[in-house]
Each structure stands twice: as C-alpha cells, then as structure tokens.
C-alpha cells in the first residue's frame, strides 16, 4: 500500500513537472527541458552563493586546525535550510491535505499515509540539503585539505542522516503548529502569528547555536570532552573531518532515533490530528442592506481577501515586504554603523544610495504575491472565467494587490535611504525610481511566470504558493536581475562607469517590465481565459 501511495505522490509531482493537468495538455519536450534548465539555474544560484561562503572559510579554518568547525557549520546550515524549508510544507502536507478524508476512508493504515507523505518531504529535504552539501564538499576539496576515505563516508552518510533529523523536526513542529491552530476561530491570524513566532524562535535558536560554535572555536578541540550539551556539534564536525567512527556512531543515533520516535508518535496520533475540527461559534447574519462597488474594486477586494485569508500565502509571498519595512527600521537604527562602513570605502560613498536601492530590489524580489495568484484560484477558476469581465481586468487586479503591498514598503525604504545618504542628479533619480520600477518588474515577472506555469494540482494552498515553478522563477529571476549591474561592471570595467551601469540597469528594468506587462495583457490574457 505504501508503494501505491508513494506512486500517487510521484504522479502528482510528475504532473507538476509536466505542466498543468487542467488544460489536459502536456508540456512539450522542449518546454520540459527549458523548465529543467530554469530549475537548474535556480539551484545553481543558491549553490553558487553557498560555495562562495564555504570557499571563504575552508582555507582559514583548515590552516587554524579547525577543520571540524567547518563541517559543524556545514551541518548546521544544512539542517537549518531543510527545517525552515519544510516545516510549513510538513504541516500542510501531513495534517491539512485535501485528500486526507478520502485516504482515511479507505482500508489504508494511517502509518502508510504518513510514511508516503514523509517520504516526499524527505526527498524535498534531500534536494535542499544537496544545495548545501555539494558546495561544502567542493569548497573543502578545492580550498581545504580534502577528506580521507572514512571522512568522505562519514560526510555522505551523516548528510543523509541529517535529512532524517530535519524531517523529524519539521514534522513535529508542523504537528505542533497544526494542533495549536486547529481550534482557533480566526485561523489565518493565529497561523500567521504562530508561524512568525516559530521563525523568530528558530532564528534565535540558530543564532545561539552560532554562539555555541564560536565558543567551541575559542575553546579549541581539546575541550571537546567537557563540552556538555554542545558536544554533538563537535562530534558532527569531527566525524566528518577526521572520519572518527565513534563520533559518527553518536551522530547516527542523534539523527535516527528522533526520526523513529517522531514517526511512531505521529502515526499513533495521525487520524486524531488530521480530523480535528475547528469548533467555532456560528456568526449570525444581520441584514443591514448591501452596498455596491465598481467591478475593479470588487476584483481587487477578492484578491486581497484571498491573500489575507491564507497564512501560507501571507507568510511565504509577503515576507519580502515585511523585510523591506524591517530593513527601513534597521537602517534608521544602525545609521551610524552604516555610514562609518561606507566612509571606510571612499570609492563607494557616491554610490551608497543606489547600492542601497539595489538591496531594496533584492527584497522586492522576495515578495512573490503575484507569482502563485493564478495557481491559487485552483478549482474556483470557473468563476473568473464565467464572469463578464475581460481577463485583463482580472490580471490587473492581481498586479494591483502585489503592488499595493510592496510599493508602500519600497517607498518607506527610499525615504530612509534619501534621508541617510546624500545623492543628487542621475543617482538621485536612480535611487528613487529603481526600487519602484523593480517592484513592478517583480510583480509582472511573477504573474507572467504563473500564466506560463500554472499549477492546479495542489493539495493545499501552501503547496500552491511554495511549490509552483512560477514562484521560483519570480524569485530567482528577480535576484538574477539584481546581479546584472555587478556582472556588467565586472565584464566591461573599461567601458562602463558605475553611474552608467545603474542608469542602464534602471532603463533596462523599465523596458523589460513594459514588455512583460504587454505580454500579460495580450497573450497572457488569452492563456488565462483558456486555462
């Protein structure tokens, strides 16, 4: 039975990779290859970033005799990425999946349902883990002394076991989140609050772990025997760097025992958790007459209601805007430190404001509200398609929602940047215009990607928001775009001044945005009406 369930999960994954099943068309081989290349590009971007980080620390750590610390940091980074990346997916996939009722009504053991879902989460964890694992191994081979045979074996096996530990943690945290939010009336607000609290707590924990790692580094490996609670961090690094089999055995137990316990606990409580009903009181309707609104207002309100009703959508797609506001506050608070940093680099002082504007663009690229906005219509798409409204108006409403969230945040950032850094002329125009234009760029890129890659086979909204190819294209496409000025400066240092690069980049962003918007209003609208 487990194999049958696993096959159904894989079929859903295949359907996602082949494109929408709604229009009964399969993606051509060319499109599949293109999609695979895009995914590879996205993975490459993250991998390249990781490689940069590991390359910087591999040599100095090895020279200082702290090889184990390199691998401890790798393990922590690997574990963090896997847990953060899968905890909300675990919550929605395991306990809030649309097909839970159907599967539980069949003669299937709950443990099999759970195992098939956990298997898919495990595969997802492994995929994310590889984005850290491969760059770490490559950087150590190039910039560090390399590993012995036993070291490589420990590295590979412990990386695999860490994925089990991450799975256990994300499933338990997902279970906790689901249990806490199950009986609350305003579930969205509760979900959002709990999720944010979890993220904050998690980041706090990770920062404490970093402090522990720093303490380890300061104390030296000789203290490893007296390390108490943080000893596993040393074992983790030493098992990989030295191929220490005793430490490997400890770590294997630390990774696999919690996984076994989590599986046992969750399978014992699966039916109860998955069937928990929200017991809120009925809201009494009082007829106070109705008010009319224009079509455009109605369409915008619909998009807003959808966005604010789903904590998964709110958190995953709107986090960039939150970061933008937080960054503005941080900029204002850390003004002195930042100004001192820039004055230490006189060649950059003139470009401080546009550089900060680029940072705003990076955060605007993290806001992906428009990217799943078509997919999330799911089974209710018939309503939009049967309404006497041009598809262009519906698509505009999706863009308006995105922009109404991200543009005010971008404006706040721009005001703070202008207050902090003196700039004038063209660079002033770039500082003001670039974040605004780029916000529109990210919005239209996301919507265009979603029209090209709609995903309707989702089991819950979080899956629609997180798993869709359009979200990845929007986010990594935006980040790739932000990297363009550096690429131009690096490739053509003789030909282009930083000022020219920023102007060209702003202009290029505007032109691309206009082209994509035109595509959405013509070809995109046709695609939408025929989905």
């Amino acid at each position: 039975m487990f194999k049958v369930l696993l096959r159904s999960r894989l079929a859903a994954l295949r359907s996602w990779l082949n494109g929408s099943s709604r229009n009964k068309k399969r993606a051509s081989a060319g499109k599949t290859v293109l999609f695979a290349l895009l995914m590879l590009y996205a993975a490459g971007c993250v991998g390249f970033m990781m490689f940069g980080v590991f390359s910087q620390i591999a040599g100095p750590f090895a020279a200082a005799g702290f090889s184990w610390l390199y691998f401890t940091m790798y393990g922590l980074m690997d574990l963090s990425l896997m847990v953060i990346g899968s905890v909300f997916m675990a919550k929605s996939q395991l306990y809030e999946a649309r097909d839970n009722d159907l599967l539980m009504s069949m003669p299937i053991r709950p443990s099999d349902i759970l195992a098939s879902r956990m298997a898919m989460l495990f595969v997802m964890n492994l995929g994310m883990g590889l984005l850290v694992c491969l760059p770490a191994a490559l950087a150590w081979s190039i910039s560090g002394p390399g590993l012995s045979g036993a070291g490589w074996a420990c590295f590979v096996l412990l990386s695999l076991f860490l994925a089990f530990l991450a799975l256990a943690l994300s499933c338990l945290l997902g279970w906790l989140l689901s249990a806490v939010t199950a009986r609350v009336r305003n579930r969205t607000m509760m979900d959002t609050a709990v999720s944010l609290a979890f993220l904050l707590a998690y980041f706090y924990f990770i920062s404490k772990m970093n402090t522990a790692v720093a303490a380890l580094a300061a104390s030296g490996a000789s203290l490893a025997g007296k390390l108490g609670a943080v000893a596993p961090l040393y074992w983790l690094g030493a098992a990989m760097s030295d191929g220490n089999l005793a430490y490997f055995a400890y770590l294997t137990a630390i990774c696999l025992v919690p996984f076994a316990l989590a599986y046992w606990l969750l399978s014992a409580t699966f039916i109860r958790t998955a069937t928990q009903k929200r017991g809120f009181a009925k809201i009494k309707y009082v007829d106070r007459g109705q008010k009319a609104s224009s079509v455009n207002v109605a369409l915008y309100r619909r998009e807003l209601a959808r966005f604010t009703s789903s904590s998964g959508y709110l958190i995953n797609a709107g986090l960039g805007a939150v970061f933008m506001v937080a960054a503005a506050v941080l900029l204002a608070l850390k003004r002195g430190t930042l100004l001192a940093a820039f004055s230490a680099m006189p060649e950059l002082v003139d470009y401080a404001a546009p550089l900060m504007a680029l940072a705003v663009c990076l955060m605007a690229g993290m806001t992906t509200i428009s990217a799943p906005s078509v997919s999330i219509e799911g089974r209710t798409l018939w309503i939009s398609q049967s309404l006497p409204v041009p598809p262009q108006d519906i698509l505009k409403a999706k863009l308006k929602l995105h922009l109404s969230i991200v543009l005010p945040a971008a404006l706040v950032d721009i005001i703070i940047i202008l207050a902090l850094f003196r700039t004038s002329g063209l660079m002033l125009a770039v500082t003001v215009l670039l974040p605004l234009i780029f916000s529109v760029f990210a919005a239209v890129l996301g919507l265009m990607a979603n029209l090209r890659h709609p995903y309707f086979d989702w089991v819950n909204e979080t899956q629609a928001v997180k798993s869709g190819a359009s979200v990845m294209i929007a986010m990594f496409g935006s980040w790739g775009m932000v990297a363009l000025p550096s690429v131009l400066l690096f490739a053509l240092p003789e030909l282009l001044t930083p000022k020219a690069v920023m102007c060209i980049f702003t202009l290029l962003t505007a032109v691309l945005t206009a082209a994509m918007y035109r595509w959405i209003m013509t070809r995109g609208a046709k695609i939408y009406s025929e989905l």
Binding site: K284, Q290, A305, R306, I383, Q385, S386, L387
Partner: protein, 238 residues
C-alpha cells in the same frame, strides 16, 4: 436564446462533442441528458465561454460566444456540477462580489438576496464563511448567485445534486417562474423523472453526438423518458 450550431470539441484524439446542434427558445426549460462522459459538461462549458471549441458556433441571444464573450456572459448565469466557491469569503461577501461584477444596484441586490436566501432558508448562514458550508448550502449559494443578476439564460450542470427535497422543489418553482417571465434554462441532469416533469424540451446525447431532441412529447411518445433513454443508449442489459 441559446443556439448551438455544429459544435465540435476534441480532447487529444477523442471527440467529446461531435457536430452538435440545439436551439433553446425564450420561455423553455431545456433538459440535456446523457450518460457519464457523454459530452454534457463540455457542451455546457462551451456555451458559457469557459471552454474554447474547435468548430461550430454558439449564439446567446443572437450574439456569438466566440466574438462577443463578455456580452454573452452578461446575460447568462452558469452553475457548475460542483459548487467550488470562494471559501475565503462569507456567503454574503460572495453574493456582493457577484452583484458588483454584474453591476446589480444596491437596492436590487438587497431585495434579491433577501428573497432568494429566504427561499433556500440560507439567510441565517450568510455571514458564515463558505468554508463552513455543507455541499448543499454551497449549491444553494451558487443558485442564489445565478439568479442575483436576473440573467436571461441560466445554464446549469446537474443543479439538483446535493439539494434537500425542499430546496429541489423550490428550485423547480424558480426555474418555471424564470421561463414564464421570458427567460430560458438549459440544464443537464441524470434524474429522468425530474426532466420528464419539468422540461419543455429535451436532448439526449451519447459519445458527443445528439441522439434525439425535441419537445418532451415528441421524444417520449407513449413511453417514459427512462425507457426512451435506455433504448437510445442501447443498453441491452436493462
């Protein structure tokens, strides 16, 4: 009111609808009957401008759904076979959204929501989120939203599924009143007794092709609609 001319729609190599022609006049309740997968839903979706088709034409009140889709949609209402509505809205917010899109005035919508919600005994639940509704309640809400903008043509896919006996009775009354006032209704159903009692005309479809159509008397003759249907479908096991 609704004219389907030589409609053909294929999915891959399969012809879901094959050269289908029907004509629904104002004042008619037109039943659309066929086994599962016969092409009823495909035809209905094509009539509402939701599904593009390969060849043929569909006219709603004299306007082509291909060239003037918005004008056609303005005067028709569609109810699908499963009432998948916006679960993130309350019932009243959904009705107001539909009324806004169709440009129903505040006064008209207040009166109609009151009237139809009372008919389906849904008034007390209008403030509830749709996610808390049962299947039948969602179907009632979909029906109210269809009648809300006073369309000329109502196209429904299995409208009686999930309704309780009282709601089914009320719906039949509403359908008759709508057509008596000059509107038209085109709906699919598997409940042959309902079709027999309610419809002015009926069409029977099999594997995308029209087997029989006409007034209930013409199609049925001296037999029951069920017998005619089974004979036409060629079910030898019955």
């Amino acid at each position: 009111m609704l004219k389907i001319e030589h409609l053909t729609k294929t999915f891959g190599n399969k012809k879901a609808v094959d050269d289908l022609s029907l004509h629904i006049q104002p004042g008619e309740i037109y039943g659309f009957i066929g086994h599962n997968g016969a092409g009823k839903t495909t035809t209905i979706k094509a009539c509402c401008g939701i599904l593009p088709f390969d060849s043929g034409e569909i006219y709603v009140d004299g306007r082509s759904i291909k060239t003037e889709p918005l004008e056609c949609k303005r005067i028709l209402a569609y109810i699908p076979d499963t009432p998948d509505l916006y679960e993130f809205m309350s019932g009243i917010k959904y009705l107001n959204f539909i009324a806004d899109v169709y440009g129903v005035t505040a006064g008209d919508r207040s009166e109609r929501i009151r009237r139809y919600a009372d008919v389906f005994a849904l008034t007390g639940d209008l403030a509830q989120p749709i996610s808390a509704y049962s299947h039948g309640m969602k179907q009632k809400l979909a029906l109210i939203s269809a009648w809300l903008h006073a369309p000329k043509l109502i196209v429904m896919d299995e409208p009686f599924v999930g309704l309780d006996p009282t709601a089914s009775y009320k719906l039949k009354e509403m359908m008759r009143a709508h057509c008596d006032a000059g509107g038209a209704i085109f709906f699919s159903t598997h409940v042959l007794e309902v079709a027999e009692k309610l419809c002015d005309k009926v069409a029977i479809i099999k594997e995308g092709r029209l087997l029989e159509s006409g007034s209930m008397e013409e199609v049925r003759g001296n037999k029951s609609l069920e017998n005619v249907f089974l004979e036409l479908e060629g079910d030898e096991n019955v």
